[in-house]
Assembly symmetry: D3
């Protein structure tokens, strides 16, 4: 592996920096991330009941995730600001106790959008937690990861 | 179960709302949340090496987590804005492959600070991911949850 | 008219300033604002169809309005930051062509929350426009105003 | 018109999404929006007096509108972030009781800037309200709409 | 002085933290900061000419400073969010080449507002620079400091 | 020089505006800014001691500066939003009493990045102040200026 992998966000003296992407061509980049919120079955039932239109937890979380993706460069210190060209966030109920979250983000730019996809999933998950916390304090946000990534010099990636 | 537990963030018609806390007395409230980032042992070794001063991943993530806690009400749609009186974020290396994150948040206010503590952990975890993603695309953010909460009408909570 | 009414946001030299509220007691303050979006009947029909669950324009706008209320002091240069204790935004379909919007905001603080209520209505209205603009470019946002206000030294107000 | 007009911000299942613009060529896009604030003639007189340099309501509102345009993607959930290349906001006194507001926004990008122009007008109008509300609680923000739009696949638009 | 002065924003292990102010009583706190922008006399003449109403550099900078004060806790990592009760920013032309800036900030809260006053001065100074940079690239922002501070346990301070 | 230099941020009537850059080609632009914080030698010693890992004032300020650069268009009213491609902030201890700060910013865009570099220096300097203010209230932020600029129609600039 030679000198690599190194920590790209630090210079030779160890100082943090936003890395130089001015030489990278803007190309189409896509990333998909996933995660889930695990809760009590009784809490899950509340979310399921809300889908009928009275208390749409998933709709609120979807929107929070989309808006969160747009705030990524504000939140993650060394992230480059990017003009996102698409963001979708899908939340799926998986009985008996899990809300699955998937976010897909696209840009035409010089860096990838994994962080935007991961941030969308994280903020959506936090929003699910917020809306259900009065009913269930022991929920857990689990397994947030990138599942697919394409575009850019480093090649495509599919989670094993 | 009677009428409860219900979804406090929705009114009788199912519309989302920021719930009324104007009747709740401002009291001291504390919440602690935890989570972790799991990575390849080789990636873990890079973080560990950085502690010696050349590439302080944990220091950057700590700061991002603290700043993230202050942005909670901007990110989570139905969260009340709160004047936080303390935020700490601790990151611990647990060999061979894990960064443990713990955030503690305090306020004197009418609602709890679980969401601020969870947001601090989430943003710190995302920042760890960002700084290491060039070396390891398969990292996972795991097990974000509230471990302790005190203050407020609903009583104290310790995760089992 | 005597010395009054004067422009409270300017000092004796005409310079803009955030006025001093440090002598004002924090009391419960409530404000309600209203506005509407007027569109083609065919566009209105699209919104109505979405209430059945496929394309919830009103749900998205409600959330945008609530989040907008929390950003008021960021947007309006001379507004004081306030810890809002309640925000609700209601959107009602009024056949054949109108979405009515009402926002109610509460705080316990030294200044009123009219601006927060008006901002919530404005952002909700803009969001309705955004989601329908591909279908109807000639929509209009109409009649945004405060309809009720209570708390504070200046007494209660009901729009005539 | 066939199946159209449909709600572009929702997918086939009715879920809200930021629509994909990655296939759209970046072209010059211009949008102009207008609106007005209607007030008591006595309040109008205060604004007019301020133009002489002691209390420049219009100058403050102009700046708030320009800054508001830059925050559009933060405020409107499904708006794409855009690099604006020009923003102007003009406020005109129309005796005896009206402040007319017009905003023009330009970008070279994949989507139009109607929302940015409408947001600029809205935030400028709210700022006018804020600075005059101590004198006049019954002001109204009226008739915010797009008056002109050019660039992009959907063709030019002039309000009738 | 014993162990003091120490770095209050770091814990015993050297980790940065937002310090705990939950035990501090909310009291009235006031801070005044100053700074200046030094430019070519020809540039100064342009600013002076603008005071007559065509190009009010000082008015724009004043507003930017006030809005900047409200963003302090977003910008300075370990600052506590505070509900500011007053912000004023004054800009004075001092011939032949200097714009003097003074900001005064008040809050009733558990920590001081020096950072808010300094941030207001800094953002106002940067805004002066921005508006004049096409005419003069060699301007300098000088001598930003706290000149007065009152309230809180550490006692009053007047710059010597 | 004829009619120039004029105030580019104001139109013919003296109204502030974000100037039109839609005709300017996106080219690589680089700006470097500098400034310093001057303090008591005893305070300087505290910062120096922190470099050994217990209280890294410079690391926190570096990160704040980088994040501040990304917020420039939010803070400076008439600045264009830009997609930054690189940001570095270096802080150097200059005995006996000075922290030197230098920021370098790159973009490929239609306008320069002097304001982003100056903002990075300013926010880093304010953060240094914040972390040391309990020890030293009389610190001063000095001499913030652009030292180099390249790219764009106006040609390169090196501070004399």
């Amino acid at each position: 592996m030679g000198r690599e992998p190194s920590l790209t966000h630090f210079d030779a003296t160890g100082a943090a920096a936003m890395v130089d992407v001015s030489d990278k061509a803007p190309t189409l980049r896509i990333a998909t991330a996933r995660g889930r919120v695990v809760m009590l079955p009784a809490t899950f039932a509340l979310v399921e009941a809300g889908r009928a239109g009275k208390g749409d937890v998933l709709g609120v979380a979807r929107l929070a995730g989309i808006m969160g993706a747009k705030r990524t460069a504000d939140l993650i210190p060394l992230c480059h600001p990017l003009a996102l060209s698409k963001v979708t966030v899908d939340l799926t109920l998986v009985a008996p106790d899990t809300v699955e979250i998937e976010a897909l983000v696209k840009t035409t730019g010089p860096t990838g959008v994994e962080m935007e996809a991961l941030t969308a999933v994280s903020i959506a998950a936090l929003t699910v937690y917020d809306m259900l916390k009065a009913a269930d304090r022991a929920m857990r946000i689990e397994d947030i990861r990138v599942v697919q990534k394409s575009g850019g010099r480093s090649g495509d990636f599919h989670a094993p």
